[in-house]
Symmetry: C2
Subunit: 431 residues, 2 copies
């Protein structure tokens, strides 16, 4: 008998593995990996200019000092808190609640917070909890961050698109989609959106739209999943309160990230889930039960890195990100001005003008698919993200997303020259 | 109109949330939390005696030094590696592969390793990948670690029990269960087991049983999911190779944990998944796609803590755990001797005698359910784990698990006196 190595049948693996939502991320990373010299407007990563390994050591030490002094722990207990298995809902929930009060005037019970392995785990847990049967669906303002679509695929939950429109969410379409889904026997559970500088479109909701959305959520009896990774990075003109800060009816599940405001490498995020469940528990406690079977608990060492940062700036990420916010504002201005200057003679090339965040969307007259990206990288040395990935294959084929968060001003100028050349060439091919 | 807070219907949340596999963990933690003064033989946590925050700083610095010196990274690139979003499969895969070669004589391609948020995420990803339809099931040697049962619940995958028997796995029962499942239209995908010092039973498989199990896995066309958290903590009499080290046919998916051998608070584990998939990829790459939608990537800071520890001991966790292994050996001996001395007059009270690991199982003549645990904690000040939690409600009602990993020798003596008083009282109530 010869020993044969097993070969797994891809048709017998979970269907998400062949879904574009999961494969597109890999594909885009793979293209970027093949063109390391290209100027990358592609990744929505925070700036790397201020990374400092000494900060890491100081922040961990600061959190330990806080455990000793403010919490009255013995050194042995503080070390246990840092190194041992720990509370499933996390150990920095009080500091997270304080941050939300300081920066967002959002007052939440620390017990309603689950600290997660990045915002991605928070999304995954919420969707896993809400997907009880094959009839459960969520809605999402389209274009949608692919992380949500992917997490939904993992729990076999369809994502129904809601039109974005100029207001950031088309409320009539939301109502129509929910009603149509119910008429078809489906159970719409929640609507996901990024109300502030949406990824990828950069659109923000006005205060009035936020209030109307909260009323509509009650009327339709759905939850709202609010994701807010970029809220702090605005143009200085102020911004309305978050949906959660306006939420008097516990309709909003708030998804928090420290990846852009503290350290991506900590992989620490959180969810505020203060909804009551009819069994007497908080929704946060239900999510915690799920978390115990996905990651057990979030690394307390990683939590300490984020907590130390929060303590260093007295709970304020606005204060912690003064340099970063200034850099993003400058870069966004350079990107917008640079695009306008280069496409002044092309009224058919249009762009959105977000009040903050990392992203600008450019609409062109040719097909911006993955093959176009490959040509752009190979012939012009510039990378961007095809927008169709955010539409789950239903649109965005003539749009590209530019991110300005990890490029220098000089790279922006050179990168835009290259992009302009690419656009000229692609448009010329149409004739 | 008065504003009503939403109340979620627990019947409309995912079924796992009401499953004993998820609620029992909470219940046991909750009992332990209410009796902080009780002596706890309950938790399977590593010793806390050697936790040292200075080690954390030194280990991170050591890993950064390795990036600079051994990998030739610039300081900026090293900091990016530590702080930025990173490779989904992890950044310490080469060091993990080296550790497996050094300690386990297991030679694996670093590309077949996915670094995960603890071993729990590794289990979850493997089960998510293998559960494609409602017909897919896994098997698990019973009693089973609840983390597997819970992860399976999250993906709606039944877990069929396989008898453990004196060999650690009853191979005839495994074959019978797989055939019966197939006859019932089910699709058995894999069998989960802990071949070395199983949790909770402490049983180990002989070399011969391992070889026969590998042959049987091929014959039955299933995978083996090998979990090995305690392998290093043996009584010095040596141990057979892991299933993965013996696996020439890529039938074994190896689940790795650093929680007991490095730092639980890092929450770093891994999976070796070197199986080929018929689409040309490695199973590890499929798992990585799923991971990108659960946690994106494992905190590189947490990975650095583990990697620094590996570098400190030249890749060997055997070397890194000399003090810990000695402590566990001493404690296990004290526990076994103490039990024998206290129950010498009770031939009906029996126990297993594992060659290592953290756990001893005691069989008594009364019902050891959660109510008995509560009485034990309240009246006698001693905590243990009711074994029925590891049988998914199908057995173990007269067994309790004792863990000796986080107690001192003095606590073992006092705790066993209390346990003996509890057993006497419970047995007397039967008369």
């Amino acid at each position: 008998m010869t020993h044969q190595s097993v070969v797994l049948d891809s048709g017998q693996l979970h269907s998400s593995l062949s879904d574009p939502a999961l494969t597109s991320m890999n594909l885009l990373n793979e293209v970027a990996g093949r063109y390391p010299e290209a100027i990358a407007f592609a990744a929505g990563r925070p700036t790397e200019q201020f990374f400092d390994v000494d900060d890491l050591h100081r922040d961990v030490a600061r959190f330990r000092e806080y455990l000793l002094r403010d919490k009255g722990y013995t050194p042995a207990r503080a070390d246990r808190e840092l190194f041992q298995y720990g509370r499933t809902k996390g150990i920095v929930h009080e500091l997270v609640a304080r941050n939300l009060a300081v920066d967002e005037r959002m007052h939440v019970d620390p017990e309603s917070i689950v600290v997660t392995v990045g915002c991605q785990e928070a999304m995954f847990l919420v969707l896993r909890a809400l997907r009880a049967t094959a009839d459960d669906v969520i809605l999402a303002v389209s274009p949608t961050y692919v992380g949500v679509t992917g997490a939904a695929r993992l729990v076999d939950m369809p994502v129904l698109p809601v039109r974005e429109g100029p207001a950031g969410i088309d409320l009539d379409d939301l109502a129509a989609q929910v009603r149509a889904a119910r008429a078809a026997g489906l159970r719409p559970r929640a609507c996901y959106l990024v109300p502030e500088f949406a990824n990828p479109s950069g659109v923000s909701l006005t205060l009035e739209t936020r209030l109307r959305l909260l009323d509509l959520a009650e009327e339709l009896d759905i939850l709202l999943l609010e994701d807010n990774p970029y809220g702090l990075f605005h143009d200085g003109s102020g911004r309305p309160p978050t949906l959660k800060a306006l939420d008097s009816r516990r309709r909003v599940v708030y998804l928090g990230s420290f990846a852009k405001t503290a350290v991506p490498g900590a992989r620490v995020g959180y969810v505020v889930a203060d909804q009551l469940v009819d069994n007497g528990s908080l929704f946060a406690d239900e999510l915690s039960k799920l978390k115990s079977m996905v990651t057990v608990n979030t690394s307390p060492i990683a939590q300490a890195v984020v907590a130390g940062r929060l303590l260093r700036f007295d709970g304020s990420l606005v204060e912690a990100n003064r340099r970063e916010a200034e850099l993003y504002r400058t870069n966004l201005r350079l990107l917008l001005d640079g695009l306008e200057a280069r496409f002044a003679d092309r009224p058919d090339v249009t762009l959105n003008v977000p009040g903050g965040g990392f992203f600008v969307v450019v609409t062109v007259d040719f097909r911006c698919d993955d093959a176009a990206l490959e040509r752009s990288a190979l012939k012009h040395g510039v990378l961007w993200t095809p927008m169709h990935h955010f539409y789950a294959g239903t649109g965005g084929f003539s749009q590209l997303r530019l991110s300005c968060s990890v490029v220098t001003p000089a790279q922006i100028e050179t990168g835009l020259d290259r992009l302009a050349a690419f656009v000229r060439e692609e448009s010329a091919m149409l004739v």
